[in-house]
Amino acid sequence: MKSMVVRRPSHMAPAGFWLLRLGPWTQLVSRRSFVAGALLLLLLACACLVSLTFGGSRPIPVKDALLVLAGQGDAVSRLLINTLRMPRILAAVLTGAALGAAGCLMQTLARNRLATPGIVGLDNGATAFAVASIVATSTSLLPSILALFGAATAAVLTFALASGSGSRGYRFIVTGIGVGAMFSALTNLMLSQAPIDAANRAYPWTVGSLNGTSAVAIRALAAGLFFGLPWACLLGRQLAAMGFSERVSISLGVRLGALRMTTLAATVWLTALGVAVAGPVGLVALIAPEIARYLAKQRGVPVLNSAWSGALLMVVADWAGRNILSPIEVPVGIVMAIIGGPYLIWIVLRQPDRRVQ
């Protein structure tokens, strides 16, 4: 029987897509999202350059900055860029990428544009543990490590309490909010009982700051991202199939339960790493996927683009925080929340019933 399906030649991709071939492996890449990604990367590079040179207590001409990057330049500029600015920008990029990707996964998993890993208690758990390490013990324990544990603990707790959440993700989200509230109360308690110098030292961990991030933590984040980001992209593709109703997904061969668990694990992993470096900068995970979706204007799970836009946001927010009230620095978490808040309210007001996909 002659097939009624129109057969396209196998070397032609559908309109708007490119076909990549690597031996036996083929991959469809949306042209629009690729262009969006390239644009984002370009903007990111520009932002990094601006952050490296303009503003701050000592602006550096672009030429000198490039010299330093090439290995020469005068001592002070070298110190400024290599010790202070570069690590900071690097931390911003990595954290933004991790949180952006995590946010994209989370929103897809929860089928809700307003879901962020932070709201599910991870941020609060990380903050509580980090503050505990500063306030309760001496300075020997690295707060970043404890922040990592804190985020993981919050995730495990939420998951344990919301077990059997079934097909609707709201139970998990609300349980996360409850767990987050408990940790937040703990943090407030610790801060109110701490002597003032310990409270001051703990302050950056309560708002999210890139001031004085430890090199060890940044390296750990880079390593984690190296594996985490490709993993997240892979999951993203599988999740796209989940956009259909459950029955369709299952008949398409998607193993829903396992997919959800794995995605959750990936989200927690990325978020925990990001928060361990920068503190509770949760709103990146909310806005970055929105930007990615707006640029690509296409259904699907734009994990990579979310990562790039997250990185861009963090770099811009960090730069803004350093320069608005100079020499007083505004922590990046506060800047992010101030940008993110109205934007969030706008989302809520604009299209209240539109789902994620």
Binding site: N112, L114, A115, T116, G118, I119, L161, A162, Y170, R171, I173, V174, T175, I177, G178, V179, A181, M182, S184, A185, L186, N188, L189, L191, S192, I196, A199, V207, G282, L283, L286, L325, I328, V330, P331, G333, I334, M336, A337, I338, G340, G341, P342, L344, I345, V348, L349, P352, D353
Partner: protein
């Protein structure tokens, strides 16, 4: 519904008795050296000067304040859950408290002091928080995702606390004061606070009275409510104004005490079902009971110091939240 109204009267009496008992315990027990026996003696007229000061000067005003704040927050919780048709709604979670806290931070940093704060500032702030709730509900029926409201509230609270953080960055004096205020406490409020809170509470309760029946009708559905002669939009607006008044007053009096607006409706629903005409009256008694219970716990756990009450309510309320959600279906309001 004749069946349910039969339950109300016994429940009210149980709650009433419980409240009286808790008030008594609150007078008898504290973090200090004046133990239960001595307090009892003092109540009957034989006690030394110190005991009399502790009972009448410290514990009695504190109990009164707990009752006022408890009524305000309990009623606000039930009203808010009813108007949003959402059993997860709570003034703290939805950003209403965050609004009034932010207003307080602004006022303090502009020169007012924490102890003599204008109540109107806090009420105004709470109103802004309620505006968000209104916007999310779109002044229409909300039958959809119950979580969307919570998430919007959580993000709104985050936004406001970041704004507060920005203000506090420049002003360390305010930051030091806010460090203690932000957890909420019933201790050490001068008697003027109580007097200042009463008008707000009474006003709110009076305004609430004509709204109860329309709210109950709304629970049947908008169309039905309209056909019964009520105006859904006006009712919602009115209820939200009442909530703002009650929450703002409570916040200004005792600082932000979270989760009460979740615990009280939960308990009320378990006792008499979902009809607001019954849960509301019950909540007026349950609210102060729960708050007094939490206050007593906060006095006993770490004597001679005291735990901030916001921490105690958070530790009771978070499990309640989780329990609500673990139930097979969210109870429909």
């Amino acid at each position: 519904m004749p069946e349910r109204s039969r339950h109300l009267a016994p429940m009210l009496s149980v709650a009433g008795v419980g409240l009286v008992l808790l008030c008594l315990i609150s007078l008898l027990i504290g973090a200090g050296d004046v133990g239960a026996w001595r307090s009892l003696e003092t109540l009957f007229g034989q006690g030394d000067e110190q005991s009399r000061f502790v009972i009448y000067g410290l514990r009695w005003p504190r109990t009164e304040l707990a009752v006022v704040v408890g009524i305000a927050l309990g009623a606000a919780g039930v009203l808010l859950q009813s108007v949003t048709r959402n059993t997860l709604a709570e003034p703290g979670l939805l950003g209403v408290s965050a609004g009034s806290s932010f207003a307080v931070v602004m006022a303090i940093s502009l020169g007012a002091s924490a102890s003599s704060l204008a109540f109107s500032v806090a009420v105004l702030g709470a109103l802004i928080g309620c505006l968000l709730v209104m916007a999310v509900c779109r002044l229409r029926g909300v039958g959809s995702d119950p979580v969307r409201l919570i998430l919007a509230g959580a993000a709104f609270s985050g936004f406001l606390s970041a704004l507060s953080g920005l203000l506090l960055l420049r002003d360390q004096r305010t930051a030091d004061e806010m460090r203690f205020w932000v957890i909420g406490s019933l201790a050490g409020r001068p008697v003027e606070t109580l007097y200042a809170a009463l008008p707000g509470l009474i006003c709110g309760l009076i305004l609430m009275l004509p709204l109860v029946r329309p709210l109950a009708a709304l629970a049947l559905g908008e169309a039905l409510a309209s056909s019964l002669g009520h105006h859904p939009q006006r009712v919602r607006l009115g209820v939200l104004i009442v909530v703002a008044m009650l929450v703002g007053t409570a916040n200004a009096a005792a600082g932000p005490i979270g989760f009460l607006g979740l615990i009280v409706p939960f308990m009320a629903r378990r006792m008499v079902g979902s009809d607001i005409r019954q849960t509301l009256w019950l909540s007026l008694l349950l609210g102060p009971s729960v708050l007094l219970g939490a206050d007593i716990v906060s006095r006993l756990l770490v004597s001679p110091y005291e735990l901030p009450i916001g921490v105690v309510t958070a530790f009771i309320g978070a499990p309640v939240l989780i329990a609500t959600v673990r139930a097979q279906r969210l109870p429909i309001l």
